[in-house]
């Protein structure tokens, strides 16, 4: 092993797209799906739930408490629990990760709505906005920077957490780690780490770009503040 190089490029070349279920490309694709679907689902659930929590404050503490309990569970435990329900499928990873995402996104939506200045809300009421339109056209748009901040955290942590799913055989690029440890062969491990980091950096970059495009008013405000 001593004369073994850290990265064997020939192994990468052979396994990038070997047609089998362990091809790096296939693992990368399933990693992306399992990491990003929870974020999408999480956002879709967190928006109405967060709005409800902001509207009826008594709802927020129990919801946040429940989400924090879920968040504090080791991901492996959650995966094991869902293993008995959904079996060895991607859902076993996607569903728990959706809960993790919710734990980040619900507070982000609530805080985002809380970041809307009271005088802005009041003037929207005074101009004659009805509640739904006020929410959609004033409160949620003004909450976007805070929500996007939460979305960035959720996305990156989801990308990282998918790898744990490898322990139940659904880990995307995480499978490369198992493979590497079992064979004391470092190339797959390095490939896995590099690809996960790249994926995280790329997703985060896209979200930052989205934030700049969606909220030109907020970027400029921070610059002058």
């Amino acid at each position: 092993m001593n004369d073994e190089p850290l990265v064997r490029w020939d192994w990468i070349a052979r396994n990038w797209d070997n047609g089998g279920p362990s091809a790096i490309k296939t693992l990368l694709e399933s990693h992306v799906v399992m990491a990003l679907l929870p974020v999408v689902f999480g956002l879709l659930i967190a928006l109405p739930l967060g709005v409800a929590c902001a509207r009826w404050r008594w709802l927020y503490q129990p919801t946040a408490g429940l989400m924090n309990v879920v968040y504090s569970l080791p991901s492996l435990v959650l995966f094991s629990i869902f293993l008995s329900v959904t079996g060895l499928t991607q859902s076993t990873v996607i569903i728990p990760l959706t809960f993790f995402t919710l734990a980040v996104l619900i507070p982000a939506v609530v805080d985002g709505l809380g970041s809307v200045p009271e005088h802005v809300r009041q003037s929207a009421v005074a101009m004659g906005f009805r509640p739904l339109r006020r929410l959609l056209q004033v409160e949620l748009p003004v909450a976007v920077p805070v929500v996007l901040g939460g979305l960035r955290v959720a996305t990156v942590s989801s990308i990282s957490l998918v790898s744990v799913g490898a322990l139940i055989g659904q880990g995307g690029l995480g499978n490369l780690f198992i493979d590497g440890w079992q064979r004391q062969f470092y190339t797959p491990i390095v490939v896995g780490i590099v690809l996960i980091v790249l994926l995280a950096v790329l997703s985060d970059g896209l979200l930052v770009l989205a934030q700049r495009l969606l909220t030109p008013w907020s970027r400029a405000r921070r610059r002058t503040a």
């Binding site: 005088h119 802005v120 009421v125 005074a126 906005f129 009805r130 030109p216 008013w217 907020s218």
Partner: protein, 358 residues
């Protein structure tokens, strides 16, 4: 006309914010609610557009009880300006101004065209239209707030301490601007402030409220200054009531004499100063057509010889008012405060920016 009929606002904890308030805010005039914090002035204002609902009593807009109108519909017909402007940070200035037209379903092009008109009306450069609120100064934001309130041309405008968050110089110019706009638009305005000077400057009628939501006095500013109803109002009005009241007496009645020889003027008959051995001494001017007696008196005090120089609108000397001449008018107003005050209440307050604060 906005009519309060025995309006009371009592909160569940028993606090009475407004107590049996009855008053009328006449159409086309500025009615100011003024008083210390806790006097219920903002609560009273917000009951008009139902941001707050009264516990008992009625508020009529013309002849209609506001409680009979669906709140969003009611509010779209009433302009509203608040202290921090309350602009939407995520919308460009032009779209902020067009808010109510959008709500009323105008098409975008028409709404924006209307918004551009209003920006011009409130004295804002059209280049600001594409900016976001944070890129504007406090005074500019406040102008946008006024433009937004006027966008759908509502007959009624509610203003809740709109100018109290800006510095005194900007505040003074916004006040002038409001009076100027009002002289063209004739809106029914209810204006809330804690600043009695602002109330006196802007109000056609001033309602002084005391803590607990009681109406202490409602009168024109000149009457208020000359005949405060009780100690509370007197104290609230502060010092210099006598002098301040003169702001509401036009200087037109001052007898003018011809310019004496020691008044030095330039080729265009604009004043340069009073001749003396050492050179020119300082002087004060007033415009009898536009200024108040207070400005004339001030002009006299600025001249070492006690003579105020009267000028026309272009600054040409048209005569002088000696202290005797000013005294005559002052004595007239001192002996007959009641009639004089009532007489001048009907007039637009004298608000020449050059000397209003001198």
């Amino acid at each position: 006309m906005i009519t309060f009929e025995g309006v009371t606002k009592r909160y569940p904890d028993g606090t009475v914010a407004v107590d049996d308030l009855s008053l009328q805010a006449p159409t086309g005039a500025i009615t100011v609610f003024v008083g210390p914090s806790g006097c219920g002035k903002t609560t009273s204002l917000r009951m008009i557009n139902r941001m707050i609902d009264a516990t008992s009593g009625r508020i009529l807009l013309d002849d209609q009880d506001v409680r009979a109108i669906d709140p969003p519909t009611l509010r779209r017909g009433i302009g509203y300006v608040i202290q921090q402007a309350g602009l939407f940070p995520h919308r460009k200035i032009v779209d902020n101004v067009a808010t109510v037209p959008y709500l009323l379903g105008w098409d975008k092009r028409k709404a924006r065209a209307r918004a551009m008109e209003l920006l011009e009306l409130v004295g804002l450069d059209s280049r600001l239209a594409g900016r976001y609120p944070f890129q504007l100064s406090g005074g500019q934001q406040q102008r946008v707030g006024v433009a937004r309130a006027l966008a759908a041309d509502p007959p009624v405008l509610l203003m809740d301490e709109p100018f109290s968050a800006v510095d005194p110089i900007v505040r003074a110019s916004l006040q002038e601007e409001l009076l100027h706009l009002q002289s063209e638009l004739h809106k029914t305005i209810v204006f809330v402030t804690h600043d009695i000077d602002e109330a006196i400057k802007l109000g056609d009628t001033v309602a002084v409220l005391r803590v607990g939501g009681h109406l202490a006095q409602m009168a024109g500013p000149a009457t208020l200054l000359s005949e405060p109803a009780d100690d509370f109002v007197r104290e609230f009005l502060g010092k210099d009531r006598g002098i301040r009241r003169l702001s509401f007496v036009p200087a037109k009645g001052v007898r003018l004499g011809s310019a004496p020889a020691d008044l030095v003027v330039d080729d265009d008959t604009r004043p340069l100063g009073w001749r003396s051995n050492g050179g020119l001494l300082p002087y004060g001017i007033f415009d009898p057509e536009r200024d108040s007696l207070r400005a004339a008196l001030d002009a006299a005090l600025l001249s070492p010889n006690g003579t105020a120089i009267a000028v026309d609108g272009d600054g040409h000397v048209i005569g002088v008012a000696t202290r005797d001449a000013l005294d005559e008018v002052l004595r007239r107003h001192a002996t007959g405060p009641d009639e004089q005050a009532r007489e001048s209440d009907g007039e637009v307050p004298v608000t020449d920016p050059r000397r209003a604060e001198s």
